[in-house]
Subunit: 340 residues, 2 copies
Amino acid sequence: MKKTIRICMAGFGHVGQRFCRLLQEQAAQLAQNYHCQILLTGVCTRSKGLLLHPDGLDLTQILTSPWQQLPGWRSGNVLDMIACAQADIFLELTTLDIKKGQPATDHIQAAFNHNMHVITANKGPLAWHFQELTRQAQQKQLAFYYETTVMDGAPIFNLAANCLPGDHVCAIRGILNGTSNFVLHRLAAGDTLAEAIRQAQAIELAEADPSMDIDGYDAAAKICALANVLMQANQTPQDVQIEGIRHISAAQLAQAKEDGYCLKPIASATKAADGSVQLRVTPQRIAKDDWLAHIDATSAALELSCQLCGNIAIVQRDPAILQTAYGVYSDMLQVISHHI
Amino acid sequence: MKKTIRICMAGFGHVGQRFCRLLQEQAAQLAQNYHCQILLTGVCTRSKGLLLHPDGLDLTQILTSPWQQLPGWRSGNVLDMIACAQADIFLELTTLDIKKGQPATDHIQAAFNHNMHVITANKGPLAWHFQELTRQAQQKQLAFYYETTVMDGAPIFNLAANCLPGDHVCAIRGILNGTSNFVLHRLAAGDTLAEAIRQAQAIELAEADPSMDIDGYDAAAKICALANVLMQANQTPQDVQIEGIRHISAAQLAQAKEDGYCLKPIASATKAADGSVQLRVTPQRIAKDDWLAHIDATSAALELSCQLCGNIAIVQRDPAILQTAYGVYSDMLQVISHHI
């Protein structure tokens, strides 16, 4: 017999829209392999308002029509939606607020209070309130998944949780911010900062205001999320030692090249002698014969130094929006397989 | 209450010995986190004979003393051991026979017949008899794990099984044979083949007879195992188009370098237009600005092209014997967590 699973989501940008199309594309697979059908019973954005339907919204309509013309539309915020959507799973897909991880953390706590499993693509809650949220999920025996927060759909958190049994992550190092990596690469090729940023914007890598990326805050939230989950760091982005790439000079880049190095925007988490975890985001020299020096364009890489498994890395080559949507989708399948 | 789990193993080379030391090192963790103690009730090698003890062999003794002097020693083979060891889990750690995957496949089938879960570090059975063995395991509701067969303890098979739900692997490409990779790198640096092989042997990378590696058969068994498990290829090493690196000339290497390429020993599995899977092991030109061109020394890399997750790769940097032993250990923990 087919199970009906109700989901609701906050945010309906590129990721949310691609995720809805993925639900349509995968409906037959979901029925056949997971014996379920997914109903989207609520969706909400700050600008468009709120759509609710207990029998499931029409995905094609919400992707193509103005929401105010659709049945089930009303004004309201995400907390209103969570209170009314009667969903099994809440998807937090709003944009990152690096300063406090809000209002995403409030959304997630409200969803737990309404007995929903939670999937977040927003890394703020992990960077600011991971321990608290995990405790709350455990108390209510609810699932809390967040694969998409770092390197889109590439398995990082699920890999550590499911594929490294009995092991410990001792250190983390990665190239986690595509815009910084792209811009540094262009600077090394001779572009000015403004030109490099314009190019990153032209390929839809950088946003209109690229400062979150260029100044290291996005990578700081990511390494903080990683360290909190994989190394029990219990830190916040305020604890990350951050150096952006805005002030890298042509002379620095030329000198690095002459010495056989590339400059790469590296985020890292290492254990200090006293056992505390030190988080850094900073441009670093990587030797040209190291494969990490050749993670270019929009690709990303994350190395984990493990006590038993040694040094392993995940590389993601040129991800597109489908890969981000798949991160949310794969978390949803984990919830369906193990928690519903 | 602590569970007692009985294991027996075929083969006691570097991997088996390091695995036994790992069991000793992790005994407290196993008790605390997995609520179990492990007893090795049987172990067998072709040269040393057979040791059996229903209450568990003394690991320190078998690591340090001549077996014939130990209680429980007798002559006999692996099938004798499987019949007598009364174990929950059988570990197949004998060396690869590339020609038929035997006698490892017979060992595994015997273990299934004695209702044991099976962990193999020997890739022959996957390359030659994967479907058959999987069917047998399913019929008897027994676990069958094989993480160590490709890239030691780095999660490949468990990653695909646990972290890519709802997705499909469309193509595989990797640098899977350390000796070939090392030798090609040395050839490019100007060494002769004999010199390069001697160096690979000096760092204990290549075996006394390096032909299995140099001529591509080891990588062929690996890509076949990968394709059988991840792409349902149902092929054998006989189906792999193999070109070793023995006949690579200095001129070829120099030309590649001049054109901006490295030669790398690439194993690949791709889907042909008719849906069949084509397996190849061959030296290929990889552009110097591609990160795969810089997987050197003993490191390995495997790229998976997935329908939804896109192009992701696992890189393993300079593995040691502990990483191989961890592959077996992590499979054992999967069996304990999910099947016992």
